[in-house]
């Protein structure tokens, strides 16, 4: 970047550009927007960014992001602690919660096994899951990692680790997306949808 641009502008632009989904042009646009916008907009953004890290932590039970430890879901006595859904990311918890169809608890891995991207089992909260299943009265683990090579490998690895615990292990059914045409469905999904077909 040219010397004509002041250092603070460069710093913020570069910080934005490190965020997912933001390229250099969008980063520059955001920076110049904040430069011209009223002070309270950048102040509230700065406060929110600061609080994000200082006022949130990982739940020591499920590793979701939370303000209180244990998190609201883990602390909720009405939820069934004998069932644990294992997800890759905190946003996946929100997606399942939105369905209103699940009343068990969660375990957040914070990623999926991907050797090519340098993520191995030790980089995820897998050991904590195995310990949790060993310590608590857990009957059923539902592995809800993303369908795909990384999510599938993670699911198989977790299954291998949990099998000695004698717990029931399930994988989220993998089927056809609502609103899609059958002719556009890939053969992995279609094969699995056929395998997982049910009485009608």
């Amino acid at each position: 970047m040219s010397k004509a641009i002041p250092e603070p502008v460069i710093r913020l632009t570069e910080a934005f550009a490190r965020l997912p989904g933001i390229g250099p042009k969008t980063a520059a646009r955001l920076t110049y927007f904040l430069l011209r916008a009223p002070d309270e907009i950048s102040q509230s953004l700065a406060d929110a960014l600061h609080d994000l890290k200082t006022e949130t932590k990982f739940c020591s039970v499920c590793f979701n992001i939370t303000v209180s430890d244990p998190c609201e879901i883990c602390a909720d006595a009405k939820r069934d602690g004998r069932v644990i859904a294992v997800v890759e990311e905190p946003l996946d918890v929100l997606a399942i919660e939105r369905t209103g169809a699940y009343s068990g608890k969660y375990h957040v891995l914070h990623g999926a096994i991907s050797p090519v991207n340098n993520i191995g089992p030790d980089d995820l909260r897998i050991r904590e899951l195995v310990e949790r299943v060993g310590q608590q009265d857990v009957l059923e683990v539902i592995i809800a990692t993303n369908p795909g090579m990384e999510g599938d490998a993670t699911a198989m690895y977790i299954k291998r680790e949990l099998e000695p615990k004698g717990v029931k292990i399930q994988r989220l059914a993998r089927g056809l997306p609502v609103g899609g045409d059958l002719e556009y469905v890939d053969s992995v999904t279609l094969t699995r949808a056929l395998q997982g077909r049910s009485e009608f």
């Binding site: 050797p115 090519v116 191995g120 090579m149 997306p177 609502v178 609103g179 899609g180 053969s187 999904t189």
Partner: protein, 253 residues
Amino acid sequence: MPRPERSFRTDALILKRRDFGEADRLLTLLTPRYGKLDVIAKGARKPTSSKTGHVELYTRADMLLHRGRELDIVVQVEMLKPYLELREDLQRGAYANYAAELMDRFTTRSEEDSTVLFTLLDETLQRLCVDEDPRLAVRYFEVRLLDEVGFRPELHECVVSREAVQAEDQYFSYADGGVVRPEHAIRSTSFVPIPMVTLKVLRHMQRSPYSHVQSLSISRALHDDIERILLGYITFLLEQKLQSVDFIRRIRS
């Protein structure tokens, strides 16, 4: 190969992928005519996109690509070979990770004809799905890949003295890429002993089609030794550890 046309169609194996933007995926492809390419599949993380599911790792797909300013864009894609077993068997999948990582590390984005490499990886993925012993497919892949990318190990004459090697246990030099007769081997980390039987199997792999290699009966210990030499040589060439190897070791134990 130059490709002035704005859109082009290609067969592709998906080597690598990562999330990009809101719902896109950045894919690294191996293609027969255009070599290794980075392309973007827009919307491919949404379950309702027609691309989702067709841009899975280690599958073969028919793609229509549009030249973008920086990256080529996937316009249409249809999965041709799903290689399902790689997704349902932890070990087979881990070997596919390894084959794809090797292919990625040994190639550059050069847009040159890569038909041989493409066919090699495609056949290897197929073998990893169906073979009783997927390890053998991996060893054969290593030998063929080294050949094709210009690192074919010299297994017949001493790389120091250029004399033909005798039928006795030898040394292998990672730095020189070949066998060294015992009297020329100096003590060094890049020299490792190679028993005659290991050398013989490696020679066989170098000159034979896969079906002939498959008919060999190789003990577990011998296979481990072949793996030691090949992996040692490959790690030396790449000058760094391979991530996928750690995972293979992890699930083997």
